[in-house]
């Protein structure tokens, strides 16, 4: 029998929880209507959508009307960043983020930079943490927005969002705070009542929900210009039709994740710790990338395996039925090493030789054991072929 694929790239997407399908099916087979306020069919959907919003809002202690459905995390990031900047550009055109942010933020910022905005890109420390002090030092009278990636998508480092909020609240003028929570949602508790977050993007498929939907949290009093125009079917910010069945699946996935968040995250933490421990104990010349312990998200392990290259490691794992990620240039779109690792001060070899393993609630100990056993063999074999390892031995 063919071996089942071991999927350890859960920061990209996760396996849908089987329990969401029943819920979603109903909307595709029977209740396939869009919401409306006059006819019965539409009204029913309206009230269902309100329920989903209430369910999702509860997971972050936000009001239902602060939840705006979107076509995924990237859409939410676009609506928030563009919306804030277009609504506030008369107050200033200076914006801040960091060089290690998620591409959604960086590409949006690059777009505005070309359109005349000035951007300050903050630098991280060697763990990937961007300090609140750096944010404080970067604020200018014309600063209007700071955006951050709560959990770094490459190394899993958790950014000090509460400290950022405090800095922004203490500033002498209004600076908005946008957070990409793609990797953070469902990984630790969040309370929108006690943060200064203005807008936050969340994606359903990172928490075992369906692909293609997400939400934007928007604080009630935070003004956003509308950037997606068209008919208002489901949401006034993400106009047009939307996949209602997937929104139902999203709400269900959130319900499952947050029913016992402590237990969910403990399982992820135990899995990733076990994987890290075995790798560090059993493979020589390996370094952890990103913050250690509680400073990193519970599902992410990123290591640099010296003297060998990540695409080759990833390919060998792949041919052995294991899916993982690498920061190697050879596996990237623009043939560049991971910009996050390079910004953290890792050298080329460490960036090219980085491997990222992200676990989910479905990951088993047997899968992790198989992965490490294979990885050990792969590292020995690739080092046998490596001139860099030869040089090290000759020294």
């Amino acid at each position: 029998m063919e071996q089942k694929r071991i999927y350890l790239d859960n920061c990209v997407t996760t396996k849908p929880d089987p329990q969401i399908f029943e819920v979603m099916k109903e909307y595709w087979e029977n209740e396939y209507w869009f919401p409306a306020t006059f006819f019965t069919a539409g009204e029913e959907i309206n009230s269902k959508l309100d329920n989903f919003k209430a369910t999702l809002g509860k997971t972050i202690n936000a009001k239902p009307d602060e939840i705006h459905f979107t076509r995924g995390g990237t859409s939410a990031n676009n609506i928030a960043i563009k919306g804030i900047l277009m609504a506030n550009s008369q107050k200033g055109t200076h914006i801040i983020c960091s060089v290690v942010d998620y591409p959604d933020i960086l590409t949006n910022y690059a777009f505005f930079e070309k359109s005349g905005f000035t951007v300050t890109y903050l630098q991280p420390d060697e763990d990937g943490v961007v300090s609140a002090q750096k944010l404080k030092d970067a604020i200018r009278p014309d600063t209007i927005l700071f955006s951050t990636t709560w959990v770094n998508h490459v190394v899993g480092t958790i950014q000090p969002v509460d400290e950022y909020a405090k800095v922004l609240q203490e500033a002498d003028h209004r600076v908005f705070l946008h957070v990409d929570a793609g990797q953070a949602y469902g990984k630790f508790p969040m309370d929108m009542n006690h943060t200064g977050i203005d807008t936050m993007s969340v994606s359903a498929h990172k928490i075992h929900g369906p692909q293609g939907v997400g939400f934007l949290y928007k604080r009630t009093k935070t003004p956003l210009a509308q950037v997606v125009h068209g008919v208002n079917r489901v949401d006034n910010l993400e106009t047009g039709g939307m996949n209602i069945g997937s929104l139902a699946g999203f709400a269900k996935a959130a319900e499952l994740t947050f029913a016992d968040l402590a237990a969910t995250t403990k399982k992820l933490r135990d899995s990733s710790n076990y994987l890290l421990e075995r790798i560090m104990n059993e493979i020589p010349d390996v370094e952890l990338n990103g913050a250690a312990g509680e400073g990193r998200a519970c599902h992410n392990i990123n290591v640099s395996i010296d003297y060998i290259e990540g695409e080759a490691m990833g390919m060998m794992l792949d041919l052995n039925g294991v899916t993982a990620a690498t920061g190697s240039a050879c596996a990237s779109q623009g043939l560049k090493p991971s910009y996050v690792l390079m910004a953290m001060g890792r050298n080329h070899m460490q960036s090219h030789g980085s491997m990222k393993f992200t676990v989910s609630k479905f990951t088993t100990k047997e899968e992790l054991d198989f992965t490490v056993d294979k990885l050990k063999e792969i590292v020995i074999e690739l080092r046998r072929r490596s001139p860099l390892y030869q040089e090290k031995k000759d020294k």
């Binding site: 003297y307 060998i308 290259e309 695409e311 080759a312 390919m315 060998m316 041919l319 190697s328 240039a329 050879c330 596996a331 779109q333 623009g334 043939l335 560049k336 090493p337 050298n347 080329h348 070899m349 090219h352 046998r384 072929r385 490596s386 001139p387 860099l388 390892y389 030869q390």
Partner: protein
């Protein structure tokens, strides 16, 4: 899977991996900064000039290892003159092709083989050290692949001007500002020309 079965076979079970302790010629090309480095070792019969043994080591991706394996297979048993005629395109064809972004791996493998042979020829008085000129730079640029299409930048007519005077090399490349391989191409040019001490100032205009 973007790789051919042949690439995967040579990657998983490469031929000729290792080193030759008393090699007659050795060459190393690439660097960890580029993400790939290859060393080729040759044992050459001093009378017949036949390559009697060849080994390689590779720090690089799957296609890098596969092209190292293939090119050493192709050179084994050939005379050094014949081996010099093996091009990166030959190696790539033998592997049933490579994705365009990986064509540079084939170039690196072929370059390393050729460099090892040239080192041998220079050491044995068969070849003279070439004078450095503008043509040397152009020849190097022919080894730089534009990853979008897997073809070199000279053939693609992306090189608009090459000048060399008193240590200053000026290269004009036509590549759009939004091209995702822009930095990669510039980096490759710097990497390829780094070995020429004659260049004291390299200016790449894009």
């Amino acid at each position: 899977m973007q790789y051919s079965q042949k690439v995967l076979d040579h990657f998983m079970k490469p031929h000729n991996v290792g080193e030759i302790k008393d090699a007659d010629a050795v060459a190393t090309e690439g660097s960890p900064a580029c993400g790939d480095q290859v060393t080729v070792y040759l044992k050459i019969n001093k009378d017949t000039k036949i390559i009697e043994d060849i080994k390689f080591k590779s720090y690089g991706c799957a296609s890098n290892i596969a092209t190292g394996s293939m090119i050493t297979d192709m050179a084994m048993g050939k005379s050094i003159d014949e081996a010099l005629k093996i091009t990166w395109r030959d190696a790539m064809e033998e592997l049933d092709g490579l994705p365009p972004t990986k064509a540079h791996c084939s170039v690196l493998a072929a370059d390393t083989l050729h460099e090892a042979i040239k080192n041998y020829q220079i050491e044995h008085g068969i070849r003279e050290v070439a004078d450095f000129s503008k043509e040397t730079i152009v020849a190097e640029l022919k080894h730089i692949i534009y990853p979008q299409v897997g073809e070199d930048i000279v053939t693609l007519k992306m090189v608009k001007y090459v000048g060399f005077n008193a240590g200053v090399a000026i290269i004009d490349i036509e590549i759009p500002s939004f091209d995702k391989y822009r930095d990669n191409v510039a980096e490759e040019i710097r990497e390829h020309l780094a070995k020429y001490s004659q260049i004291t100032d390299l200016q790449i205009n894009m």
